[in-house]
């Protein structure tokens, strides 16, 4: 059985997709999968999953909105961070548009992907050291979360076929 080990270090809505999509795809193929959540990635384990989206003015999303109607998508958005972040609620708006975009295309939400991962026995491991530094408490995280340190991650990773730092 192939083995996939990921370190999830980013806690925005957009960057929540890659680890959960890869985890569920691999688990569906019968792989043994573990995700080690650390640093800014810890919020992905919270029961109450309210994630912001990376600002639309971010050059990482330069061309068009990846969601919304076709007309809306075709607009070029050369909006600098300085402007979007001054529109109250803009990031919430972008976040809910992104969620709809994934839904319209038949892609599960982050919550649904995470539930699927748990059902498929993907190991979800929170980094205890960064939890302490960032002030997270175990009761904030979903059931089934395991707690460990960098050494436990390395032991899981060493015989994994695919290792990814996300």
């Amino acid at each position: 059985m192939p083995k996939l080990a990921m370190i999830a270090t980013q806690g925005t809505l957009d960057w929540a997709y890659p680890p959960f999509i890869l985890a569920t795809a691999a688990a569906a193929m019968g792989w043994d999968v573990g995700i080690f959540f650390t640093f800014y990635g810890l919020p992905l384990l919270k029961k109450d999953l309210k994630l912001p989206v990376t600002p639309v003015g971010n050059p990482a999303m330069p061309m068009k909105m990846p969601f919304g109607s076709e007309g809306f998508q075709n607009i070029n958005w050369p909006i600098p961070n300085a402007i979007t972040s001054n529109i109250p609620g803009f990031e919430n708006f972008a976040g809910s548009m992104m969620k709809k975009g994934f839904k319209n295309k038949g892609v599960a939400s982050v919550e649904e992907l995470r539930d699927m991962a748990v059902e498929m026995d993907v190991k979800l491991i929170a980094c205890q050291m960064t939890m302490d530094v960032f002030g997270f408490k175990r009761e904030e995280f979903i059931e089934g979360t395991e707690y460990a340190g960098a050494a436990a991650y390395l032991e899981f990773a060493v015989d994994s076929d695919v290792n990814l730092f996300i």
Copy 2:
């Protein structure tokens, strides 16, 4: 023959270099190389490659401009995003300066590196699912692009010697 599998998820000019530099270096050493483009990395496959550079005020580039004359490079640029993004055209300017910087040092442009990768039989694979979500069409992408999903990536990655998420 060693095998290198990369996931390219970022679509700015600066972050376009790592996957193509690693791909061409590995291919030149006789490796079998595949790059799976997904998420914000999909624009790297566009025929018309107009990539923005990450803003210079970004703390990721805190010290100096990595291009331009020596005097220009020695200036410290403590410019916050809020300022650079308000200078019309600043990002285009930074992008063309960065291209010149790489050229002055004998490093190929992103377009040239991508052409070299194609000639060296590097597999360029677009993630069909995120193409649908983001609204990209096959005719926008360069010839030779293959189309597949996460399962195909995992099958390529499982027996790769080096796996990288960029």
Copy 3:
């Protein structure tokens, strides 16, 4: 002896922790470790390590400050980049708070982690090509730094058990 190869591509205070924490943890377990510093990660090798922190308004750190007193940490900080970057010195303030946060929790500073890595024979390799492009000089970097290109990295990575692009 297991082998860990990392590419460190980010030069901010927060993103300096992952490669050095993983390197020292793996070296403490007897692993053979190499870090290849390239791109924006090159400043992590400077003798004079003055790293900025990613702005607090960054959506990657959406919930709370991961440092400071408990009351301070419990404040929600919906501060957009546009605002924090206009407060003179805010990023320095955030950087020094972050350093204190790690210190309060018994985590070493980036400098201490880097010193530990050197003592533990972690290989620190600077990418010669990006040094040339970015205008870095060897005398700026700490002693013990090795200098090589992408081919040397690939040769180190090919028989590593864990490969990470950070």
